[in-house]
Every structure is written in C-alpha cells, then in structure tokens.
C-alpha cells in the first residue's frame, strides 16, 4: 500500500502518545479543572463578573463554561503550543527530519499529517478538560439545569449539549493558535522558542484588547474569538459571534498554516 497522509497522521499520534510533553499538556487539561472544582467545593463565592460565574454552585454545567473563559487567557493556548510549537522543531532538534524525509512520503504529506495530529491533540485537550469539568463539577454542584445568558433556564441535558457546542466553537481560535505554533515551529526550528513564541503572540493579542482607543480592533482580535461560544448560550442563539469567529480565525490560521506548509516543503534540511 502506498503511504500517505493517513499513515503519517497515525504515526504522529503514536509519537505524541510516547512523549512526556503530550502528557504534560493533557495532564494540565485534567488537573486544572479538578483544582478549580476543588476550590468551588470549599468556597461559597465565585467569579461573579464572569459569564456563568454566579451559577457554579447551582450546577456543575456552569463550571466548564467558566473554565473556557479563564482557560483562554493562557492555559489552553499554552497546552496547544506545547505540541504545535514542538511537532516540527523537535524533529529538527533530534535530526529525525532527514530520516523521515528520505522515505516514500512527500514533504507536504508529512506536514499535513503533523498538522492533523496537532489539531487532534488540541481538540482532545479541550474536550478532556471539558469532560473532567462536567463530571467533577456535577459531583460537587450537581447535574442541574442552567440559566443561559438571556436568563432562560434550560434542562441539564440541553445545557450539556450547549457546553459541547461551545467547546466546538472554542476550537476555532485554538486551531488558529495551533497554526501560529506550527509556523513558529517550522521557522525557529527550536521547540522552546516556538512554544514560548506562540504563547507570547496569544498574550500580546490579549494585551492589545485592553489598550485604550483600540476598541474598533476588538472584533478582529484572536483573543476576542475565545468568547464567541457565548452566543450559543443566548435565547435565541446569536450566531453572529460564531460566524465572525470562523472567518477571523481563518484570517489568522490560513495564512500562517500556508506559510508553514510552503516553508516546510521548500526548506533546506541541514543538521
């Protein structure tokens, strides 16, 4: 059988499963919700100024939503960057790029397999974190109906569906961060620089959001797109933030991914 992207993708996942870095990222995605839920269990208050913050003692289904907000500051971008920034640069560092580039798969197929594996890991981290938050949150605060941002109460099962949908929408900016990480990983050929660089880009975009006089820019910042899921928790559903998130994230992700692809395919592999 002729090898192609599926072969590379499968092996990239196997490589990820064999690396400590992967488990650090996924471990953080599990531990941080547990810490948050533990804090909720021992405190009566909550982050009232944050969407759904006031409901974390009423239903465990509010907890993953609050985590989505706090996670966008650095946790999820960092978890994503851990793999996105490393997946090409680590091959450079180990010298294994030349090993795999002299087999029977094209460079473009290898890059595509790596990009898909990165996306899979990032999605796994988000959904793992969400699942832990829902389960642990429900144990502590109950699996109860949720009050939406429009003030309407929805059943626990409906709320669970909305939490899942929110995570899907949340994946769009996460994938854009992953694309930035892949580009930095390809350019810098240095894992640490690419991971830190990706996180820095994410943080700088958040800093721009608080610079006075740049309000007109907010809808187009990547950091703003981490809140797009909130449109799903209105009655009726406000799709505008989701649609805007889709094309804004595409504007960030597509050029960086294309640049990373072209660089990877055309670059000299020395060392």
């Amino acid at each position: 059988m002729k090898p192609g992207v599926p072969t590379v993708y499968r092996w990239e996942l196997r490589k990820l499963r064999s690396q400590k870095r992967t488990y650090i990222g996924l471990g953080a995605a599990v531990v941080i919700p547990l810490i948050f839920v533990t804090a909720v269990a021992f405190q009566s208050g909550g982050p009232e100024d944050v969407a759904f913050g006031r409901y974390i003692h009423d239903t465990g289904l509010a907890i993953p939503l609050v985590l989505l907000f706090f996670g966008s500051l650095w946790m999820f971008p960092l978890i994503t960057a851990l793999v996105a920034g490393d997946i090409v640069a680590a091959e450079d560092h180990n010298g294994t790029l030349k090993t795999i580039l002299t087999r029977s798969v094209e460079r473009g197929q290898i890059f595509t397999g790596k990009a898909l594996a990165t996306a899979t890991y990032a999605a796994a981290a988000i959904f793992l974190s969400g699942t832990v938050a829902v389960v642990a949150g429900s144990i502590v605060s109950g699996f109860d109906p949720l009050v939406t941002l429009s003030g309407k109460t929805v059943s626990a099962l409906s709320a669970l569906g909305l939490v899942g949908a929110s995570m899907l929408v949340y994946l769009m900016p996460i994938f854009a961060v992953a694309c930035i990480g892949l580009l930095l990983s390809t350019i810098t050929r240095n894992s640490a620089a690419a991971v830190v660089g990706t996180l820095m880009v994410s943080l700088v975009l958040q800093l721009i959001a608080i610079v006075p006089g740049l309000g007109w820019l907010h809808p187009y910042l990547l950091s703003t797109q981490f809140d797009a899921w909130q449109g799903l928790l209105r009655n009726p559903i406000d799709w505008a933030p989701t649609i805007r998130s889709a094309w804004v994230c595409l504007l960030y992700g597509a050029p960086t991914l294309a640049a990373a692809y072209i660089l990877f395919v055309r670059r000299d592999v020395a060392g």
Binding site: R14, Q19, G95, K98, T99, T102, V269
Partner: protein, 325 residues
C-alpha cells in the same frame, strides 16, 4: 529530453554548486557513480561531502547544477528516491521509541511490504536482541548499525552512507566495513563518504577526492596510484656510466647520483623503467638494486587535499547530462 531511469547511472552530478551566502560549500562538482560501484567520496572534514550527499537525497536545494539519482531529480519528489537509501551525518531516530518501533514507523512511511523485512534487517546488522530497547539507550555504534538497517528496509539499489564508521571502536569499524562489502557483493551500489583513506582503500573500487568544495580527482584507485610519478633508487656496478644511460633514456627524469655510495635516484613513469633495465643491460652495466619508492595513497590524498594536485590526472569521460523534461 529526460534521462532514462533504466539506463541511468545511480548518481550523476553535473556542475553542482551549493552556496551559503558568500561561502561556496560545493563548487561545480561533477561526479558519476556507476552501477556496482563501491564509490569512495573522500575529503577532509568540511570539504563539502555531506552537503553533496544532502543534495543527492533531496534534503537541500542546489544553488546551481544538476543532481540525478537513477535519472530522477530528488527535488521533484520522493519517487526519484525509490531505489535509494542511506543517511547523512549520523543516522537519527526517535530516542523515546524502541528500535523496532522506529523501523516500523519508517517501514510504514516506505509502504509496500517493508514492514515484513524488519526482522531480516535487524538480523543483518546484528541488533535482533536489542530491538525492543529504546534507541535513546543505544550506543553510537548501535545507532550506526540501526541506520544501515533502516536503509536496507527500502531494498535499495543505491546506498548513500555518510562517514558510517565515524565514532566506532576498532571492532565496530571492522564490522561496518565487512557489512558494506557484503552489501556490495549482493549487488547494491554504495556511495561512501569518508575522510579516512584507509577505509576507502579497503572497501571502494572508485573514488572522488573533494577539496574545498571542488573535485580534484575522480577515477579508479589504480588511476590514483598511477597519477603520480614514482621515485626510483638504482644501484649498479658502474654508477658513472649508468647515470649517462639514465639521462639518455626517454621518460627518465631528475637523475641524480649520490656520493659516495654511487646510488642513482631518478623519477619515471612505470612504462619507462623496463626499457631502462634493458638499456643498462645492453651497456654491460649490472643492476644491483632498482627500488621503486611509490607515494602511498595517503601521501597522494594529502597531496590532493592539502597541496597541489598530482602531476598527472587521469582522463575522465564526463558525458553531458541533459536536464529531465
């Protein structure tokens, strides 16, 4: 017009150049590896050997010139490397995976039935017992052997090996050279880069010597030996007349007579010496000793890589290579 992959030589480089800014790492290299060759690519560290090999494997782009492996352009896609395997610098693997897992990964990327050859290639390089260990725990020599195993998975017709014995202990060097000879005996063409003349002399039939990015010699090892003149020491029964005979003989140069021994020293090509013996005999001069003092291959290597080129270079036929359409 394209070069037919069937008839094409395993490696043909024409006017190959690689520049890094102002530095010219490879400077108009012409080189032909023919089927069945065990070809030594010889030069000191930094001469441009590894850079040339990287271009042959499509890892880096030439600044100018052509690279063809079995007639295909390695930059055009991996199809050109279908029958090629090897490594540049030391072979590298995923340290967190076992050797067998590394080979399974590479076999998957090769496709076909490569995976079914894993046990066989591990056997060839004598790593079957350690196949389950992580490569991170491997010694340098074991990684070198694993590199050969990874190359053999592809059932190559051409092996490109970059200094395969570097860093090995004497036993490892012996085993690696024996392995290369065995693979060559099995019909695999081998291009072997090295900075050790003894290695090339031991396993190769043809050689290119590269110096500062340029080829200064390409041909058979015998051609290399013949490419320099030999100094002879001559002891006769009548040194005075012998000097005159020597000086009169075509092809005999730089004749000097030593005092008081009477030993005559001259330089000559191999073809002139038998005639000189006859001439001395006809003149009634007895020859006590006629001792050739050939420069060793090592002397020639240093002559090429550190000093001037040999006085005579073999005539090398380098057919023009037409770029594939």
């Amino acid at each position: 017009m394209s070069v037919s992959p069937v008839a094409a030589n395993p490696v043909e480089l024409r006017g190959l150049v690689k520049r890094y800014g102002e530095i010219v790492a490879v400077d108009h290299v012409d080189l032909t590896v023919q089927p069945g060759d065990v070809y030594g690519y010889l030069g000191p560290n930094g001469a441009g050997k590894t850079t040339s090999l990287r271009m042959m494997l499509g890892l880096i782009r030439p600044s100018a010139g052509l690279v063809r492996v079995f007639g295909g352009d390695p930059l055009a896609g991996v199809a050109a490397l279908k029958d090629v395997a090897g490594f540049v610098e030391e072979p590298r693997f995923y340290p967190y995976l076992a050797a067998r897992k590394n080979l399974e990964l590479l076999a998957a990327l090769d496709g076909g039935n490569a995976v079914s050859r894993i046990d066989e290639v591990l056997e060839v390089v004598d790593l079957s017992d350690r196949a389950g260990d992580r490569v991170g725990s491997y010694s340098h020599g074991m990684r070198q052997r694993l590199g050969i195993a990874a190359a053999l998975l592809r059932k190559p017709r051409l092996l490109l090996l970059d200094e395969p014995t570097t860093g090995l202990d004497p036993g490892g060097i012996r085993d690696m050279r024996a392995l290369i000879r065995r693979l060559a005996d099995d019909g695999i063409t081998v291009l072997l880069s090295s900075h050790q003349l003894s290695e090339v002399e031991e396993v190769c039939n043809r050689v290119a010597i590269i110096r500062s990015g340029s080829i200064v010699f390409e041909g058979h090892l015998d051609d290399l030996r013949r490419s320099s003149t030999t100094t002879y020491r001559l002891q006769t029964t009548d040194p005075e007349r012998a000097v005159a005979v020597c000086e009169a003989q075509p092809g005999i140069r730089d004749v000097t007579a030593g005092e008081p021994s009477g030993e005559i020293v001259f330089t000559a090509g191999e073809e002139a010496v038998p005639d000189l013996s006859v001439a001395l005999g006809e003149a009634g001069i007895g020859i006590s000793a006629l001792i050739p003092q050939r420069p060793s291959l090592e002397d020639l290597f240093f002559q090429f890589t550190e000093g001037q080129e040999a006085t005579t270079r073999p005539s090398l036929e380098r057919p023009a290579l037409t770029e594939a359409a």
